[in-house]
């Protein structure tokens, strides 16, 4: 059994919060650059130029002022013994990163009373037990302009793939300019009500351009991307070819009576950093 002190995780989470918010992942940079090269809308090109310049000049200033809720995914090897309180350690890491990195504190303690917690805690913490003796940490700060445009539908089995396509397109159309397009679209199909939403969020952690392992779903990703970019919404919703940078689908087995479908939208500042301890 490998021992790992929770303070090690705290320190790593703090560093990752700062890096995620100041340095855009390479896959997102590449997708933005490629879409700029393809874009044929005049205003759209200007907007993409601004977005690209912004990520170049960002560090140490955050890329976006909405440095998000800190979504922290931990895949913990079942042969690891974590010494200390893991949840407290993750929150201590988030507090340290958001304070020392001059990141915005955007979390309120209660959804109705709305008092700011002052250090961006608590993290949205997702833990999973996996085989092995390592800990894989992913920090994905998520802004709420895009989170607010996300939706879930409990479709009928009879709705099938057409129902999924319609729901995804409807979600993107309803979102329009609000989630800061070009967007990244995470789609979770199957599972139950809550797992579908989690799948959609996890789909956003995949690098843009990576494809679902099943050819059927990889093709569906391509088809959805094409249909979304034919809507004409464009960067910032001002018209253009580039409405989405990528569509990523994840699936799970589901019940004979259901076809849950969740769409988690991310803005172009699609942040995710992963490290293995």
């Amino acid at each position: 059994m490998r021992e790992m002190h929770s303070e090690v995780i705290a320190q790593r989470v703090a560093e990752m919060c700062i890096r995620a918010n100041t340095v855009l992942p390479e896959d997102v940079c590449a997708a933005l650059d490629a879409s700029r090269a393809r874009e044929d809308g005049i205003v759209a090109r200007d907007v993409l130029d601004t977005i690209i310049e912004n990520y170049h000049i960002a560090n140490p200033v955050p890329i976006c002022q909405d440095t998000g809720m800190a979504c922290v995914f931990l895949e913990i090897g079942q042969d690891v013994h974590i010494v200390g309180n893991l949840t407290q350690a993750v929150n201590a890491g988030v507090a340290k990163g958001y304070t020392e990195g001059y990141l915005r504190k955007s979390v309120v303690r209660d959804p109705l009373f709305r008092e700011n917690t002052g250090d961006n805690t608590p993290a949205m913490l997702y833990t999973e037990l996996v085989p092995g003796d390592s800990v894989r940490i992913t920090v994905a700060p998520k802004g709420f302009g895009s989170e607010n445009m996300s939706r879930i539908a409990m479709l009928k089995p009879a709705d099938g793939v057409d129902g999924v396509v319609d729901f995804v397109l409807e979600t993107v159309r309803l979102a329009g300019p609000n989630p800061c397009p070009p967007i990244v679209v995470g789609v979770g199909i199957g599972g139950n009500f809550d797992k579908a939403a989690l799948l959609a969020k996890k789909a956003l952690l995949r690098p843009i351009g990576s494809r679902n392992a099943q050819p059927y779903y990889a093709e569906l990703e391509d088809k959805l991307l094409e249909k979304i970019n034919a809507l004409g919404i464009g960067p910032q919703g001002l018209g253009g070819r580039t409405t989405a940078l990528g569509v990523q689908i994840e699936t799970l087995p589901t019940h004979i009576a259901g076809l849950p479908c969740a769409v988690n939208i991310n803005c172009h500042v699609s942040r995710h950093v992963t490290e293995v301890l």
Partner: protein, 187 residues
């Protein structure tokens, strides 16, 4: 070509702008988002004075990240505007002439803009690091306890924005994608 405009706005300037115009805004603007809007409207309800000159004012829907040592302000891009829709008509009716944000506005806000002769500008969402450079001075006017949501007075120099909805109610979020598809949709 960007049109240089001064803030606060005059009625004449606001009336001259059209949806799709690129502008550079220089002068004094105020930042306020959800919590500050709620408080502003509570002051109005109680008949109390507003904490900034409302006449011709431009309100930026923005809550910055903290300023790093030696900096005026942190990243400072726009937040999504529809959350301010319940409050905006009150401020427009009192003389505010401009709003800067991103995303769609409600029919009620657009009607209030037409009555007031006001303009809605869009800044590029997610370009907070670049927009920070246009802010020369920033000071909290009131409600410091709100943190990033405090009401701030900002001196801006050539803040880039696009006129999204003009004082006639023309909406670039409708015409922009439609025009793009008309020109490029056939392929």
């Amino acid at each position: 070509m960007r049109i240089e405009i001064a803030a606060p706005l005059t009625k004449e300037t606001a009336a001259s702008l059209r949806a799709g115009d690129s502008v550079s805004i220089s002068g004094v603007i105020y930042s306020a988002r959800d919590a500050a809007h709620k408080k502003l409207c509570e002051l109005i309800e109680k008949g109390e004075a507003l904490p900034f000159p409302i006449d011709g004012s431009v309100i930026y829907y923005m809550g910055p990240s903290p300023a790093q040592p030696g900096a005026v302000i942190g990243a400072a891009g726009p937040t999504t505007s529809y959350r301010m829709d319940p409050y905006a008509p009150r401020l427009l009716s009192l003389g505010s002439l401009g709003m800067i944000g991103k995303g769609r506005r409600s029919a009620e806000v657009i009607e209030a803009m037409k009555s007031a002769g006001a303009v809605y500008f869009g800044a590029v969402g997610g370009a907070g690091a670049l927009l920070q450079r246009c802010i020369r001075k920033a000071e909290v006017v009131c409600w410091p306890e709100l943190g990033a949501e405090a009401l701030m007075r900002l001196e801006v120099h050539r803040l880039p924005a696009i006129v999204i909805i003009d004082s006639l109610g023309c909406d670039l979020y409708k015409s922009g994608p439609r025009d793009y598809l008309t020109q490029h949709g056939g392929d």
